[in-house]
């Protein structure tokens, strides 16, 4: 079987390479590199610029940024992906039902969502995390729940638009049940914007994890995560910009890769683009 054209375009290939590469690092870096490479301090080389000894330089405690960024990948990627998946699992059915049926149900659900949206997602995650206590699983839960209202809002809007299109009415007049209408006629047609939104959410989830970590509720130092590294770099930006650029670059590359892959995926799923 040959791949659809959309998955062999340059954009798709770059996206796929980036995402695949980062996944490989996230999976294999902790297996290959001894864990203490990320936490070993070299006080004589604090805030050292990139050199042959430290490829990406060092941070304020003289820890090697190259190893930290590699070893931090797993934490960041796992937390972000799981959190976004979780927000899809909760937000998708919620938004679909709300947008499809409309009326009173929609009103009630959306007022709840609006209330949750009124809190900054990070503050919200922080509260959840504070109640549940700091742990890896709770961080995922907190970010996942915090990101749900936004996604539910987008899905609801799309579902509402699609639900009143003629082909949904046509399927209804052909005897389709509500369940069938939602799954077969509404869901596939709202996927394009949802995919794009999810790739953006992933970037924000990586940063949200950083925020939680900074406040002592996410990843616990001295363990490495990209978000934590960006937070830590804040005080040294003028003297040692690489401390922010290295983890920032890692986040940017992941988001870029996911975005391109998401676009390609969206095109591949849409029969009209063939």
């Amino acid at each position: 079987m040959t791949l659809p054209r959309q998955l062999t375009s340059t954009k798709a290939l770059i996206g796929f390479t980036l995402v695949f590469g980062i996944l490989l690092i996230a999976i294999f870096a902790p297996l290959v590199i001894p864990a203490d490479y990320a936490t070993r301090m070299d006080m004589r080389a604090r805030l050292a610029p990139p050199s042959m000894a430290h490829w990406f330089g060092t941070d304020q405690l003289g820890r090697d940024l190259f190893y930290r960024v590699l070893l931090g990948a797993r934490t960041s990627i796992v937390i972000a992906t799981s959190a976004v998946l979780m927000s899809i699992v909760i937000g998708l059915p919620l938004g679909l039902v709300s947008g499809f049926f409309g009326g009173r149900l929609d009103n009630v659900l959306m007022r709840i969502v609006d209330t949750l949206l009124a809190f900054p997602a990070l503050l919200f995650a922080l509260t959840i995390s504070a109640i549940l206590g700091p742990s890896f699983a709770n961080t995922i839960l907190a970010i996942g729940i915090a990101f749900t209202p936004f996604l539910a809002r987008i899905i609801r809007g799309e579902a509402m638009r699609v639900a009143q299109l003629p082909y949904v009415e046509a399927a209804r007049s052909a005897g389709a049940s509500n369940f069938r209408l939602i799954v077969w006629h509404v869901l596939p047609n709202i996927m394009p914007p949802v995919i794009v939104q999810c790739t953006i959410s992933l970037a924000f989830a990586i940063l949200a994890e950083a925020g939680l970590s900074f406040l002592g509720l996410g990843t616990q130092p001295p363990e490495a995560s990209w978000g934590l590294m960006i937070q830590a770099s804040r005080d040294y930006l003028d003297r040692a910009p690489w401390t922010a650029l290295v983890p920032g670059g890692a986040v940017a590359l992941s988001v870029l890769g996911l975005n391109m892959l998401g676009d390609a995926l969206r095109d591949a799923l849409d029969p009209r683009s063939k």
Binding site: A170, S173, A174, W184, P188
Partner: protein, 614 residues
């Protein structure tokens, strides 16, 4: 009308010579139009007519050099415009500044969609005076004065009041008048009208056509009129340019084109157009003749004997939509969309509901299927009252009544293969699955004359006509007794429309189907229906057999509607100018409003006319 000989002798306002426009697409270069040449003389209307994809709009956009904004390139040819100082300019060579000065000043343009071609956030005054201030350098007061004159010229009542209004406060017909006023603002030498009446109702269309014609005569302006509608061509044109797939097929004076078309394509195009009055004296609907295509032998569809009782009975159907307002979303008023509609439909019969937009004909069709919940009234299908059914029973009952929708581009799910879409009702009603379903679907595809390999395709790969065939196949899959066809052919090109109408008629004859045919097109309705109901403001104002309604219209509104229909015959022009603009009364009434009780008078057996006592 200007004598053609005179028109040719004088200097043309615009001469298109050997125009070729190409578009760069993902699949390489696509030629939009090739080797197009024609000229438009002062005081002359040249109609460019063709079906979708014929390149007629590309031609008009090229003249404004707007085609470049749509990704097109003019690769060959000249566009010679005679300037006010009698010099001739090749628009292809003109630079941006010159073009900006010409657009709206020397060439005015009217677009198809009056609803979207005005900017919703500016007042009418702002939009109307913009061109005057830019091109004529008028100050605010002078521009406003001129704007009022222009509004009077296009016969807009209360011009001062209208100037301060926003586009959404005006009806479609009014907006198109504003568009015309804008195009006329700087007294252009050439007016390009690109399908200016396609989105409008027939009575409004008649007014707008008359208006354009009057402005042309008064100002000696040249008009380039783009349309797909042969009837409008017959009413408007001095000369006609027929286009097909980017090529000019034929051009000549309008009488010649209609009386003795030289080319096969022109003949086919003309034959496919149903003309109002063609069916005079005929007892039953008759398929259209399509030259070029193999002559389809369809026996005239006949009504089945009515002994088994009517298929569909509609009694006192009322559908109202609440309007809510205020902070507490109080119920402040109702839209009376369908008001006390009653009729019956026999087996094997086509009943047409005809009327203008907003008259409630579509809502009526949807209320019958309960796709919209009617407010009150009774709908019986084979003696069974649909309004009492619960959700499950209603779904089961829909097996006998299917719907074909207007827009074939929107009524098919873009993410589903056509086979799955036609299988939809079979699956939903648990009628067939697996190999048996495949077989049934293949038969349906054959019946609607679609190649079997289309089963695996997606909707976007098909043309409009092909999609509508799929929609018909889907409706037929469960062998329904009633098909509600809501403007089912309105979005199609005439030749395709004729084919789909013929298909529908032959299916009716073969399967004894009943159609509720909802349409705004009087000529099509005359062609296909046994009985006709005319709707106006939610009410059925006249009901009778086709012959009764079309040959002896009794209600004022029916007569008005009939006289407004353009006829595809240049010898029968029905332009009455100076039709006063009368806005349609609003169907919105406060809560508790009781519509006047109307009474149906039977003027002859089976022919009813609504008389309101006021």
């Amino acid at each position: 009308m200007i004598d053609t000989a005179v028109a040719e002798a004088s200097q043309p306002v615009v001469a298109v010579e050997g125009l070729r426009v190409e578009f760069d697409t993902d699949d390489g270069v696509v030629v939009g139009v090739k080797d197009v040449s024609f000229r438009v003389a002062p005081g002359e209307t040249v109609c460019v007519v063709g079906e979708s994809g014929s390149g007629k709009s590309v031609t008009s956009l090229s003249l404004m050099r707007l085609v470049e904004f749509g990704g097109g390139r003019i690769t060959e040819g000249r566009l010679l415009l005679t300037r006010p100082d009698d010099t001739v300019l090749d628009l292809v060579e003109a630079d941006t500044g010159v073009m900006q000065n010409i657009r709206g000043n020397e060439i005015g343009m009217i677009f198809q969609e009056p609803m979207t071609s005005l900017n919703p956030v500016f007042t009418i005054e702002r939009q109307l005076t913009d061109g005057l201030r830019v091109h004529r350098g008028l100050d605010a007061a002078a521009a406003r004065k001129r704007a009022v004159e222009l509004m009077q010229e296009v016969r807009i009542p209360e011009p001062e009041k209208r100037l301060s209004q926003y586009p959404h406060e005006l009806s479609g017909g009014m907006r198109q008048r504003v568009m015309i006023a804008m195009a006329m603002a700087c007294r252009p030498r050439l007016l390009i009208a690109d399908e200016p009446t396609t989105a409008l109702d027939v009575t409004i269309q008649a007014e707008i056509l008359a208006l354009i014609d009057r402005l042309k005569t008064e100002n000696g302006m040249a008009v380039l009129f783009i349309t797909h509608d042969m009837a409008v061509v017959a009413q408007m044109a001095d000369r006609v340019v027929v286009m097909f797939r980017g090529d000019i097929v034929e051009q000549g004076p309008v009488e010649e084109i209609f009386a003795a078309p030289k080319e096969e394509y022109t003949r086919a195009l003309l034959a496919a157009v149903p003309r109002l009055g063609d069916m005079r004296g005929k007892a039953a609907p008759e398929p259209l003749r399509i030259p070029g295509a193999a002559e389809v032998a369809i026996k005239p569809a006949k009504t089945l004997p009515a002994e088994s009782g009517p298929l569909l009975e509609v009694r006192n159907l009322v559908t109202q939509f609440p309007i809510r307002g205020g902070i507490f979303q109080r119920h402040v008023a109702n839209v009376h969309a369908v008001e006390n509609v009653s009729f019956t439909l026999a087996r094997g019969e086509t009943m047409a509901l005809v009327g203008e937009s907003g008259c409630g004909k579509s809502t009526c069709g949807r209320s019958i299927l309960r796709l919209i919940e009617p407010t009150s009234g009774e709908v019986k299908l084979e003696g069974r009252d649909l309004s009492e059914l619960d959700d499950a029973a209603l779904r089961a009952a829909r097996r006998n009544m299917q719907m074909v929708f207007q827009d074939p581009f929107a009524s098919l799910n873009p993410f589903m293969r056509l086979k799955a879409q036609v299988a939809e009702p079979l699956t939903n009603f648990g009628l067939a699955r697996g190999a048996k379903a495949d077989e049934l679907i293949a038969e349906l595809f054959e019946r609607v004359e679609l190649p079997l390999e289309f089963m695996r395709r997606f909707p976007h790969e098909l043309s409009g006509g092909q999609r509508q065939r799929v929609a018909i196949a889907r409706a037929l899959a469960v062998n329904p007794k009633l098909i509600v066809a809501d403007e089912a052919v309105s979005a199609l090109d005439v030749s395709v429309q004729a084919q789909v109408l013929n298909l529908m008629m032959s299916l009716q004859e073969e399967r004894g189907l009943s159609y509720l045919f909802i349409s705004h097109d009087m000529a099509v309705v005359e062609r296909v229906s046994h009985r006709v109901g005319v709707m106006y403001l939610g009410r059925l104002v006249e009901l009778g057999s086709r012959a009764q309604v079309f040959e002896n219209p009794q209600h004022d509104y029916t007569q008005k509607l009939m006289s407004a229909v353009p006829i595809a015959d240049p010898r029968r022009r029905n332009k009455g100018d100076g039709r006063p603009f009368r806005p349609l009364p609003s169907p919105i009434h406060p809560v508790g409003y009781k519509p006047p009780p109307g009474e149906f008078v039977e003027v002859e057996p089976g022919h009813f006319v609504l008389k309101l006592d006021d």
